[in-house]
Amino acid sequence: MWDFVLSALRAAIPAGTPLLYGTLGEVTAERSGVLNLGVEGMMIVGAVTAFGVAHSTGSIWLGVAAAALMGGSLALVHAFASITLRVNQVISGLALTMLGLGLSGLVGRRYIGTPIRTRLVPLTIPGLRDLPVVGSLFFRYDPLVYLAIILVPVLWFIMYRTRWGITLRSVGESPATADAAGINVFLVRYLAVFFGGMMAGVGGAYLSVVYAPAWIEGMTAGAGWIVIALTIFAMWDPVRALLGAYLFGGVRVLQYRLQPLGISPNLLNMLPFAFTILVLLISSGGVVRKRIGAPAALMQPYTREER
């Protein structure tokens, strides 16, 4: 029993890592007041980009960097539509997801069934990794897992302890006030959405070059949507994003671990989605929503002449 728990916990962290990248990005974008439902699309494009680049250059890291760039570029499409053209953010994000799914399928058709040879070497700290229990639980993952963990306090610090963070949050809370204070609302929102796209791209890259590692059409399988829910679950806070992402990683892992016990895989596949609805229910109660810190100007396009 103890072994089961330990190995499930150990597996939950890599399984939650793509979700963590995506959620950190979406938290940032939404803090600036822009909801981007295109995460699923940006993730899958990130996945295929990373796989393609890693496949042809032999470098995982180049693949990850390219995925970040592609994810960010795709996010700029949403930024242009929702910030500059001020169109409906829900529909624009949905369009971005469709675009990403289609593009990845078209680009990825040549990679189906091809392996990549390089692997990320797990980052192990001699001494620490051999500790009982703790060693295998905390000190034997690949570098991208640790990068995500490091990003959490960094992002938290930037968000709550620096001028950049105040700027970002004020744009999401009250763009008109921020504008009056001399902040370039449009620029801040563009940057936040771009960063969100980069993170989603890296999350997708993790799936295709580290976690799987393979290119499978539609391999994100709804992870991008779970990211959107996690953002609310995390109450737009990077630290809670970490907890939420690993929790959901755990749910994903349980799906596979419970299957041998004779539970239908299809019913288990429903788990993360049912769980997401539950999370939404818990975390977005009307009065609570205000208190938990939803950016006040979320989904509201900003325009100077209609103040």
């Binding site: 169109v87 369009a95 799914l101 593009l103 399928g105 299809n266 049912a274 002449e305």
Partner: protein, 361 residues
């Protein structure tokens, strides 16, 4: 730095019909041009691809009939989404509601194979509508009672519905005569919708779709409910002050859009497949495509009939290039996404007047 050329953006007070129409067409053409560039970049000859798409969809009687076949679920689901979106209730889960409609109809067809067709088929449409509406009632209640964002909850319900279909066709409902395929047994003849001549057009569903699209138009523009729906969409605060019941409106539009999507699912199993199959086999994403259909129609259920035929043609053409050029199924999403983006962008030109003016120094 003084730029003499100056862009002025003014809000339009009224939107002329011709501007709406020409923007829609122009957006569509621009989207197709961009997709052509993407195709080119990915090593697919766009001229060949587009010719295949057009010929496949509209170039023959068979193509036209298949286009109509694909338009049927899009009309039903799209008309329902128009009603919901008018109230700014973003039901993104039509795909799930469609699948539940298909499940309910299948359940009835498998349970009572010996009922006469005049009783069984209307019964299947009835349970399909109820099933889709109930599935949509979950996000509706969550939104109206607990302020849960309906976009996410309705979407999560899609994945759950899809796994439910999988569970049924791989598990308890797996057909004995289907040689291991994830299908249910074939429906009895009395559970099969009649088709037009030798085509696959199951005309009862088509007629139902056309009638319901017209009714949806009447509902939105000619009734008190429709007025409440539109006011709730334009300004929920004003609706509340005027004493309109928000909960009722949200529930109404969700149930309607869910029910119509459910009917679309019934049409697919009773008119096309005569059995329940794995989710992608029942619907290649009609519920999501219906969002584009509705948006392209500017949320006008009557215009949905036209846009559904257009997008239906694109789906048929998509199948054609899939076979002929060996492109993946997901290619069609590329069309969906790019078209939707350009239609959205085009709205700027309908909502605002954009003028280039030379400034005199």
């Amino acid at each position: 730095m003084n730029v003499p050329l100056h862009v002025r953006i003014q809000k339009r007070l009224a939107v002329p019909r011709w501007i709406e129409l020409s923007t829609a067409i122009f957006s569509l053409l621009l989207a197709l041009a961009v997709i052509a560039v993407l195709f080119r970049a990915l090593g697919v000859n766009p001229i060949v691809a587009y010719r295949k798409i057009f010929r496949g969809a509209f170039g023959s009687l068979y193509g036209l009939s298949e286009t109509t076949v694909k338009a049927i679920p899009l009309i039903l689901a799209g008309a329902g989404l128009c009603v919901a979106f008018q109230a700014r209730v973003y039901n993104i889960g039509a795909e799930g509601q469609l699948l539940i409609g298909a499940i309910c109809a299948t359940g009835l067809a498998l349970a009572f194979p010996d009922l006469p067709a005049w009783l069984l088929l209307p019964g299947m449409f009835f349970v399909g509508f109820v099933g889709g509406a109930l599935w949509a009632s979950v996000p509706a209640l969550l939104k109206a009672r607990f302020h849960v964002d309906e976009v996410l909850s309705s979407l999560m319900m899609v994945y759950i519905a899809s796994e439910l279909v999988n569970y049924l066709v791989y598990g308890p409902w797996k057909g004995l005569s289907e040689m291991g395929f994830p299908y249910t047994d074939k429906f009895s003849p009395s559970a099969q919708l009649p088709r037009l001549f030798r085509t696959r057009i199951h005309y009862p569903t088509l007629i139902l779709g056309l009638v319901l699209a017209a009714l949806a138009y009447v509902l939105i523009h000619r009734t008190k409910w429709g007025f409440e729906i539109r006011v709730t969409g334009e300004n929920p605060e004003a609706a509340r002050y005027a004493g309109m019941n928000y909960l009722k409106t949200v529930l109404l539009v969700m149930l309607l859009s869910g029910g119509l999507a459910g009917l679309a699912g019934v049409g697919e199993v009773a008119g096309i497949h005569y059995r329940l199959r794995y989710p992608q086999g029942v619907s290649p994403g009609y519920g999501f495509t219906a969002v584009i259909v509705a948006w392209l129609a500017h949320l006008n259920p009557l215009a949905v009939i036209v846009t559904a035929l257009l997008i239906g043609g694109l789906l048929v053409g998509g199948d054609a290039i899939q076979v002929a050029l060996g492109l993946p199924v997901a290619t069609i999403h590329l069309f969906n996404g790019v078209i939707l983006l350009f239609v959205l962008g085009g709205e700027l030109f309908t909502r605002y007047r954009i003028r280039l003016e030379w400034r005199r120094e």
